[in-house]
């Protein structure tokens, strides 16, 4: 699909709209329109009604429908698999729905490890995790990018880096700045309609692909480029992806994403404190190009307002950095810190 055309999505989220993070991301942030959500268990409601607080713009709401033929009445161009199947592979019923959608001429869009193109020969399929055929080695050209580049990093994976990045971008646009959002994971790529899932790239090329994406975003000379981070420097399975992106994207500053979770993380490995993580990100970045941590993005999901305020206050004191939950409150303190740096 031509990058300048807008998609009109029907999102397949059967039985699981509540937890369908890709669907939520596209509904809240997507450049494309969602015309219907397919979840027979919630049919008759709307996405915004099912998930209060998700949509800041009521114009982005979409009806939840029970069947593909109801969805087709809303003239979608594309069907998006909006949840990862529990067993890893798509259940037979979903395959039937996708086949029906393909027969109706819809593009099939999936961000799964399981590639869909081989399952639907002849159909128009966008496997979002499929890396480009040609990927470059890091060259250093990224050092010369003119716009300011900010990258989100975290004390853990799945801590809200994409959300923080998109909320800061939104705040920047509200403030009249021009922005470039660099998507590096499947939901980010679907939201923006371009980008690369850097964790699906052969490891030799992660830095090169990250650099390439920033160079692409710099072409329009925006005031601020916001790069979606991946994994964490302290995550034993994904730290290599994180570092390839950190060095390859040549950021000028970092936004550290944290959450109140403690106890052991992945494989029993403890999460570093925000202060320790901030120091180490800076030291490791500086091996290639200095990039101070300028602000903390706190994910206070699940806390009461009072608890959230206390958490934000504590992290700000511990780190000496502007701290905010850009989803619950405002991304303004983070944006201002990035632009000051």
């Amino acid at each position: 699909m031509n990058g300048t055309l807008r998609r009109r999505y029907v999102i397949l989220a059967e039985g699981r709209l509540h937890e369908a993070k890709t669907a939520h991301g596209v509904l809240r942030y997507g450049k494309d329109e969602v015309v219907a959500v397919l979840d027979s268990t919630l049919a008759g409601k709307t996405a915004g009604g099912v998930m209060p607080g998700l949509l800041t713009d009521p114009g982005r709401d979409a009806p939840v429908v029970a069947t593909l033929s109801e969805a087709l009445a809303h003239s979608p161009t594309s069907i998006l698999v909006g949840v990862a199947p529990a067993g890893g592979r798509l259940p037979g019923e979903w395959m039937e729905t996708l086949r029906g959608a393909a027969e109706a001429g819809l593009e099939i869009v999936g961000g799964l490890h399981q590639r869909l193109a081989p399952e639907f020969p002849g159909a128009n399929v966008w496997d979002v995790r499929e890396p480009p055929a040609e990927v470059p080695i890091f060259s250093g050209e990224g050092f010369g990018v003119a716009p300011k580049v900010a990258l989100t990093v975290g004390t853990d994976a799945a801590i809200g880096k994409m959300t923080a990045t998109l909320e800061v971008e939104r705040e920047a646009r509200r403030a009249g700045l021009s922005t470039g959002f660099v998507p590096t994971g499947q939901t980010g790529v679907i939201i923006a309609g371009w980008g690369v899932c850097v964790d699906a790239v052969v490891s030799d090329f992660v830095a090169g692909v990250s650099e390439m994406l920033v160079l692409q975003a710099a072409k329009s000379s925006p005031d601020l480029i916001l790069v979606e981070g991946q994994g964490a420097l302290s995550h034993p399975a994904y730290s290599g992806v994180t570092l390839g992106l950190l060095h390859g994207s040549c950021p000028d500053c970092l936004i550290l994403c944290v959450s109140p979770e403690d106890g052991p993380g992945y494989a029993g490995v403890p999460r570093p404190s925000p202060a320790r993580a901030a120091r180490l990100y800076e030291e490791v970045a500086a091996l290639v190009k200095p990039a101070p941590v300028v602000a903390i993005s706190a994910n206070t999901k699940g806390l009461t307002d009072k608890e959230a305020d206390a958490f934000v206050e504590r992290i700000s004191t511990e780190t000496g950095l502007p701290t905010a939950d850009p989803f619950r409150d405002s991304a303004k303190p983070i944006l201002e810190a990035a632009m000051r740096s």
Copy 2:
């Protein structure tokens, strides 16, 4: 080819035996035998004669021959492409030689980015850089490995990590210890006859593959497992590979490889000092599992003996760590530091 069979290699190094690093590695360290080297410009000599100091065991020397038919007289099982072609793709003459070798029943072995299997349909081809079809995500099982695990790291890529690893392994065997060498790059894999080129693996799986390799090496319960490092934490193009391997292989201690080179490194990025690099490797490793840098391996290639001694002395003073050039001198100080840790 069955892992328990020994290969008998003819090495294709036409016109470039002097710079054929893979050939040198297999001649000096390989578990398999080299029966001939193909380089018409040096025909009539022997590999050891052409490269004085390469072979410590004269029994490993091999004749240099001019033609494939001369090489076939030495009953090879396999032909190894021992140099990377200048232009990236194999020249037509080499292809002819390989085709002849395949017709004579030889296995073709290549460690290039360019895969050879598609070029020689029907032939027995080992594309060393081809990752296994199934690669795991890091699980944490590596934390429970019983033998001591040492990993080589460096202040730059291509600084002699593989050589240091193999020299320490050799010294350990001389000292009566049982060892496991974990190969993570093409030459290491060809030398050992097993392993994975971790930089050719999709980035999500680098830590998992590294863990898997260490678990395999641990099966025979050796006294010491030596993991070949890749890249450098400070290398802008390959740092992600380095960190995935550092966290995934769960080392107990690190051996830092340094060289006297200064001036800008890759893409103009300066190399960190050995002391700074040692501190940062330790801090970053400790995010997942503590692993002190116990010794420095100094690559003094190109220096006089006097210069080399001065360099080793200086690095030892700067870092406060046992320092040696295991190739020029002895790997004993490094081995002892690793076993003490």
